[in-house]
Every structure is written in structure tokens, then in C-alpha cells.
Symmetry: C2
């Protein structure tokens, strides 16, 4: 899954250049890092990417090992339900026994070996159990309020750190998050899954019969993409499938595979600053940048024209220059960027936002 | 005098666009404001501008009332001595009795009426006394350490607030500045003068005979500008002429005319912020700018291409975007911009500085 636009990293990410396609980690994009993570377990020819159709050329250019028929371009975003059932419907036609891992493209997960090991375990669970929807639970490192939580039940015998999931919990407040973590019974919801394509589609047929019918029609008639896709129900796979299944609404069940890895969202400039290499003053510098008396800043000059970004006396700030915008904000305020982009769009038009 | 490059306002001011030519005060440049101030007393046809030859086209474009023969373009900067004796040498050939006011182009002086009134007084002094070098003394509003001071002696009879100047003082430290102001005997040195052209040149012939010879040669042979000008002694008129004369080194004397006006240097972003109209949050905004949670800032988007400057959570900062640079610095640090430009030049080349 490589959808989304990532307005909180504006102006680095824009409508034409979403977050997961920015070559921001040592010159590589989060999509490229995600592709490499999966290649540790899955042959490149078996990897599909589902992304916005507008970004298809850039995805293909970043991933030369991706087969053209494995790039699914959404004409419009229709949330995560459709980003997982469309590939499932395509794959089940190629191989009715297909087992599919759905992984996100906008996080950093390290070490890759740990991820590969747990992905292998998840595949084993899904191959052995055709009623299992497998999800990954990140072992919490603290009472984070920005993630959903998975409440786990009894362990699955014979496997290490694999358990039934009995409830999906929304993002909690600080007190509740602390109780979750203290109890030892919760993982963070990673939004990554493994299942037999046929198992997922069977659940969707029960829970959302119309979605099942339309996506099956689309897989049989890919030429009708522009007609069918915009009419699909826009909803999340967690809300529409995983939660009802975890509550016993169908004959399937949810299995959680623990993933004890560093799992970092790169959803804001503060996150990006945390991820990238810093100089002795704690500054991340990219592009033509001059700084004096400046500490703890993210300084990015991504303007393709010849230019310079010059700062003095700044602390803990993000300063980003692109061809069409300059953004300045404290790193601690970087969640406010999204609202700022809204104002840019309103006042100066969508082409600058 | 319209020379100088104003690196402390970089990147608004650059080698190709020095400070005094920026249309920054309600769309008018400091040069245009200075020209208008002088027009209150002097016919436009009698106004000369001495500026860098590289800016001659821009000066002519900004001042349509300036006669082409009254624009003196310096091929290289040779400090204030030559910027005052060259026009004097030119004018004395046109009229041996010429009385000349030398005014700067990079300050704001208000009200214009007060300036015009004192300029008229200064002309009267210089016309009546062919041994007088007249200078303007700004009545201090506080113990400023950024200006030179004029120590005044006995008053000139029959004129209001006009006195002999007995000493030129360098920029003082805070304690000395406070003593100067408390004594009531000091004015700020405005660096503006009135004199008979022949009187000034007579003093230069005594104090700096070689400079006198060369500038006289240049006035007689303007076609030799490129040959003569670069070889002129580079020094200030204060150091080379006014100080020695005030100390009695020659048969002339220095007369000070008090100017009780607001006299504002616009030498830094802090100065510019102070001069310009602010919104309810104390922000100066120019060009396409979006700001939230931001107070007391100077926000200038001078990029001629379509772009936006977006800031959030900033206080008392200068943020400036141009076609080739973005600058961010606290207004209180704006004197550090000059050093920053030096580093830009060193690392990325003169065309970005």
C-alpha cells in the first residue's frame, strides 16, 4: 500500500510528490525502503504496489524490479479497504491459493531481519489456517496516544509471540494508553496484514457484499477501472473487516504476530529530523544550506533551481525551501503544517499547496 | 550619495539590487524618498546622483526627473571622499560659485518639512561663509552606540541651533554615549554636508593634493573615468577632511546645523520591521505569505515566480524568500546577516550572494 499524500511534510510532499515517494532517507524513498524489506522474504516478481494512478510513473521509476502488471494505480483514493481487496481480487484470479502480505510504505521498520522473520511467521500462520486474518502488533515502547491498540487474547500454541486478537482499540488518551501498556496485553496496531486472498474476500462477501461484487467485477474487467473504482465504498479495512471479525461477527478470527522492532512513522518534520543524520549541532542539512548559531534544526533546500537557504540563530526549527514554497515552523509545531497547507490552498490555489 | 550594497538586508539587497534601490517603503525606494526630500529645496534639474555605475539604469528608471548628465556612475566604490569631491569638481566647472548639499540616500528622515527648513539654513551658512564646511547634527534621542558624534562649540550668532563643531567622535561605548547625550553638547553625525564646491576642493588641495589633482583631471576629462577612478585614494570624507578641519588643521572650519527630526537608518531587518506597517499580530507581510500563530515577524516573499511563504509558530523573526535565496533569522540577530552572506559567497559563489 503506497497511497496517501502526507500534507504534514508539505512543501516536500505535495499532491504531485507524496511523502512515500520522497527520496529523503539517504537518497531513498520510504517506498523503496518498504520494497526492500519485503524482498527479504518475497520474490520481486511477486510484489504488487497499489498507489495513486497519478504517481504510477514515479513508482515505476523508483522500483525497476516491479513488474508493470503488478502496479495497481487507483484513479481516486478509496481508503484502505479497497487498497487491500483490489490486490486480493487480482491475485486470487492468478492463484486461488495465494497468500498475501499487505504492508505499508510510509514507515521505517528496523532491523529488516526482525521484520523478515516475523513476516515469515505470519505467512506460516495464514498458510496453515484458512480462517485466519493475521495482523502485526508492534511491541509498545511507551504509552503512545497516536496509535490504535490491539488487545490480545490467548497465545497460539507452538508459535512465539503469536496470539488471538480479541479487540481493536481506537487511539486512546494518555491515561488509557498507560493502562494498556502497563497491562502487557496490548500491541500497537501496525496496519499490516497477512491472509489468504480467498479468506479475505470470503469475509468481505459476508460483511460488505456489494464491495465484494464490485471488486470481483473489477478484477475480471480491469478496463472498467475508471468506471468502477470511484463508486466503491470508502472505508478502512480495520473498521469494515478486522474489528467485526475480532468481535466474532463471522466464522473467521484475527491472529496477531508480535513485531519487536523500531517502527517509526515519518509523518512530520519532527519525525524526519529524528530519522536523519545530524551534524555536530544537531542539524539535518540537505541541499545548499548555510547555517550559523543554529542547533537542532531540519534545514532542507529542495529547490531544483540554483538557490541557497541561509539561517542564523535558529533552534529546533524546520526550514524547507522548494521551487514554489518556503516553510518555517518549530519542529514541536510540525503537526500544524497540515492546517497551514489548507490556508495556502484557500488563499493561493491548489497548485501551490 | 547613493552608493553601497547593504548586505545586512540580503537577500533583498544583493549586488545587483542594493538597499537604497529596493522599493520597500510603500513601494518606493530610499533613493526615491531622498530625491523627494531634496526636491523640497532644490530644483530637480540641479540634483546629481552619485551611485555605482552598475546601478545607473535602475537609478535612471527610478528617478525620471534626474537629468542624464547629472548621474555620476562610479566604476568601483572609492568611499565617501571621492563620492563628494567628484560631484564638487564637476559642479565647480559648471558654476564656480556653486553651493552643494551632499545628502545620503539610505535613511528615512521625517518630517520632510523639518529637513527642508534646516537644509535651507545650511545653504545660507555656506553661501555667507566661504570658509565653512557645514555638516548636519541629528539631535540625539538616546545614547546610541551605532553613530559617530559631533562635539559642538560656540553657537553661530543670529541663527537657531547652528554651532561650530570642535571635534568628530567615533562610535562610543554605552557609557561614553550616555555622557555625550547627558552633556547636551553632542549631536549625532549624519554624514550629510553643505559647502561651496570651491571651498571643499580648496581644502582637499591642502589636505590631499594628489586626490585634488586627479579629481580635477577627471572632471575635465570624463572620458578617462575608467582609467582614473580606480586609482583614487579610498578614504572617508570625515577622516580625510572633516576631522582635520574641525581640529584647525586648515584655515576653514566646520559648522553644525542641528536637525531635530526622526532619522532612521534602514540597515537591518529589525530596522525595516520597525519602519513598515504591521498587522494586528505585529507582522509585516509582503508578497504571498501565509502565517499562523506568528507574531512580531518580518515576512517578505519577493520571489518573482509564483510561490508562497508559509510560517507557523514564529516570533520576532525575519523570513525572506527571493528567487535565489531564503533567509531566516531572529530580528534581534539581524546584524549577523552580513557574516552569513560572506559564507554564502564562499561556499556557493558570488552569484548567490
Amino acid at each position: 500500500m503506497a497511497g496517501g499524500s502526507g500534507t504534514r511534510l508539505w512543501p516536500l510532499s505535495r499532491r504531485g510528490e507524496p511523502k512515500q515517494l520522497l527520496r529523503m532517507i539517504d537518497g531513498r524513498s520510504l517506498l523503496q525502503l518498504a520494497f526492500d524489506r519485503v524482498r527479504a522474504v518475497v520474490a520481486p516478481g511477486n510484489i504488487l504496489v497499489c498507489a495513486g494512478a497519478a504517481y504510477a510513473d514515479e513508482v515505476a521509476s523508483q522500483l525497476p524490479a516491479l513488474r508493470p502488471e503488478n502496479l495497481l494505480g487507483e484513479p481516486v483514493g478509496r481508503d484502505s479497504l479497497n487498497a487491500v481487496i483490489w490486490p486480493a481480487a487480482v491475485l486470487v484470479r492468478r492463484d486461488p491459493e495465494a497468500v498475501v502480505a499487505v504492508v505499508t510504505a510510509d514507515q521505517i521498520i528496523e532491523p529488516v531481519e526482525t521484520f523478515a522473520d516475523r513476516l515469515t511467521t505470519a505467512f506460516e500462520v495464514a498458510e496453515a489456517d484458512d480462517r485466519a486474518l493475521v495482523t502485526f502488533g508492534i511491541v509498545p515502547t511507551g504509552p503512545h496516544t497516536g496509535y490504535g491498540y490491539l488487545h490480545r487474547g490467548r497465545a497460539v500454541e507452538g508459535l512465539t509471540d503469536v496470539a488471538r486478537i480479541v479487540e481493536f482499540k481506537e487511539k486512546p488518551d494518555a491515561g488509557l494508553a498507560a493502562r494498556y501498556v502497563d497491562s502487557g496485553e496490548y500491541w500497537w496496531n501496525a496496519g499490516m496484514f497477512v491472509w489468504r486472498a480467498a479468506t479475505l474476500l470470503g469475509q468481505v462477501r459476508v460483511l460488505l457484499p456489494e464491495s465484494h461484487e464490485r471488486i470481483t467485477e473489477l478484477a475480471a474487467h480491469p478496463e472498467r477501472l475508471a468506471e468502477i473504482y470511484p463508486g466503491l465504498l470508502k472505508t478502512s479495512v480495520d473498521f469494515a473487516v478486522m474489528e467485526p471479525v475480532s468481535r466474532g461477527r463471522t466464522d473467521a478470527h484475527v491472529i496477531g504476530v508480535a513485531l519487536a522492532a523500531r517502527w517509526a512513522d515519518v509523518g512530520s518534520f519532527a519525525d524526519l529530523h529524528a530519522e536523519l543524520d545530524k551534524d555536530d549541532d544537531g542539524n539535518v542539512r540537505q541541499g545548499a544550506v548555510v547555517a550559523s548559531g543554529t542547533t537542532g534544526c531540519l534545514l532542507v533546500n529542495a529547490d531544483p533551481e540554483r538557490s541557497v537557504l541561509a539561517v542564523t540563530g535558529l533552534h529546533d526549527m524546520a526550514v524547507v525551501r522548494t521551487a514554489t514554497a518556503t516553510l518555517v515552523c518549530p519542529l514541536s509545531d510540525s503537526q500544524r503544517v497540515k492546517a497551514l497547507v489548507g490556508e495556502v490552498k484557500e488563499r493561493y490555489g491548489a497548485e501551490l499547496a
